[in-house]
Subunit: 343 residues, 2 copies
């Protein structure tokens, strides 16, 4: 650190003895200059701590090194977890992730895409609301910037989709539940804000049919993202009214299960596999807290990290191949059964 502050690349060119166009090349790709000059630049760089003006850099570029990441609700640990994984993957690929949450509001999802558009991102990873999303807006957006959907699918939208195979995963846990005890009932939100919920219900029905059991679906009213409360209040009410025909409840996601577990505790209903238990509860997602519920929740683990990595690598492949791929890819990862004590 020395002398006066460097104001622009011109000045840094003087003090470093490197021409400005070469510096420009270096900043856009350090490997594009000769090793010896690169060393000279980097030596000068930590003597003067100059950084190019981001705004000037990007103003004439058609696209930047920014990657937009949009999730529907960051306060849901599932999305913070997957958001984190995606962020890290972008950083290590030399891009600048910009994580945006729509805070549960589909209107904000549109606004987020809007403001992303003006940041000229190289690509965008979007976990959409699904049904509540504005499909046409997303599709239009997708024509301008490479878009990969994850978690929730919207048909024919975006260049690719990465998610979990709900049919496989639900099939897996239904099979386990049927084999190890009474066949499960299914507990979900009536108006789910997420297409996965629909798939899971379908998958539940098909699985039950396959095993020769009748399907029992119970739906809770309410909208929004406060799943724990819904699970606790309405799930608890159902438990109190003893509406479930079997002693096993498969919840559409872990957060509902966490709520129901809490309600069961309050009602003095012992949940688990032990002989003194009268109820089994299972979930889906391997929510970060499902390990610490009472009892610990048996659930399906989505491979966060694999989904994140694949989503990112897919996006980069599309970005680097210029033209959009001929066919829309859908990649589904298998869920893994995580057996804990609740079922």
């Amino acid at each position: 650190m020395v002398q006066r502050k460097i104001r622009n690349m011109e000045e840094f060119a003087s003090v470093s003895g490197i021409s400005r166009p070469t510096l420009s090349k270096y900043f856009n790709n350090p490997e594009s200059v000769r090793q010896s000059t690169r060393m000279r630049i980097e030596k000068a760089l930590d003597q003067h701590d100059y950084r190019p003006n981001v705004y000037a850099m990007n103003q004439n570029r058609r696209t930047t090194k920014n990657i937009g990441i949009v999730v529907p609700y960051l306060a849901d640990p599932f999305f913070t977890e997957i958001g984190r994984a995606v962020e890290m993957a972008c950083i290590s690929a030399g891009y600048s992730p910009i994580l945006l949450s729509s805070h549960g509001d589909p209107e904000l999802e549109k606004e987020n895409l809007e403001s992303l558009r003006s940041l000229k991102p190289a690509g965008v990873l979007l976990a959409p609301f699904g049904r509540a999303s504005d499909r046409s807006v997303i599709q239009k957006f997708s024509q301008e910037v490479p878009l990969v959907l994850f978690d929730a699918n919207i048909s024919e939208t975006g260049e690719a989709f990465i998610g979990t195979d709900n049919f496989q995963s639900v099939g897996l846990i239904v099979e386990y539940l049927c084999r190890s005890g009474e066949p499960p009932c299914f507990f979900e939100m009536k108006t789910p804000s997420n297409p996965n919920a629909n798939k899971r219900q379908q998958a539940y029905q098909e699985s039950m049919e396959r095993h020769g059991f009748p399907a029992h679906i119970f739906q809770a009213e309410g909208e929004g993202w406060n799943f724990e409360e819904v699970g606790s209040v309405q799930g608890g009410e159902m438990l109190a009214r003893k509406v479930f025909p079997t002693n096993t409840v498969l919840c559409s996601n872990d957060r509902l299960a966490i709520g129901m577990l809490s309600a069961a505790y309050g009602l003095g209903i012992r949940v688990g596999l032990d002989s003194d238990c009268s109820l089994r509860i299972a979930g889906h997602d391997d929510h970060p807290f499902s390990r610490y519920t009472c009892p610990p929740l048996t659930t399906i683990a989505q491979d966060y990290s694999a989904i994140a990595k694949r989503a990112v690598s897919t996006l980069f492949r599309i970005i680097e191949s210029e033209d959009p791929p001929p066919t829309r890819e859908e990649t589904l990862f298998e869920g893994k059964l995580v057996m804990r004590d609740s079922a």
Copy 2:
């Protein structure tokens, strides 16, 4: 939506019949132009969907309308919650929030500040790691851009600090616990990553002294942010070994409490106020999930929203008053006792 796409403000000036400088004024502050011309502009605006180039806009500005928000670990629901509140407050004030997580890595905190610096933010809200943060880096940063700390304080760093009064809050819950049963032991991490933890321990000690009880402090090994696991594994071990001299444990934060609660359940220890319970556990923070633990966790609620709002309004006051305030402000909000069933 019509004809060809508008490429720049010049073109939009032609089609709208407004001069470019006036448009420039409008985009920087819609209220700075006459009402009638504003209407004309906005009419043209939704006919042509032109948006000024963000990068060109900011390249000659000393500061932008960006507000940086840096939290130590976004996957901690406490920070996603407060991050969300802060984001919303910025948006409604007409600024663009940029939320960055340091993912538990103090090194990343420095990098985040670095990259923020090149975005020329109007101001930054930082929830630092505390002891693990690089104080000198933050102080240097603070000389260049208005900086308000929240959640965790670092003395003489940043123009202001907003947080919770740990002495008041811990005093409150210790008093409650002493009054309603056996005096509490204190459970915490040995090497806390957060200055609040130190304050809480001190506050516990002072409170116990005030009530004439001996302080009993138990420390768990381990670093990092996986508090639930620490609470579960090490807290559980302590429970099993019956090291706690009283039947009441106050945890330094809710996440430790959630872990311990889980361990207690596993050990068959009934937690709560009922006569058949042999243990009381309390936490601190009113973590979003503390309502759904088994039993629901008695804790101290930090006023997220008040902290967020005050932090934002303080920052804006500093930004708008040009020169830094003469004295560093520290604002502490009181915590509220949330009585649930665990203690």
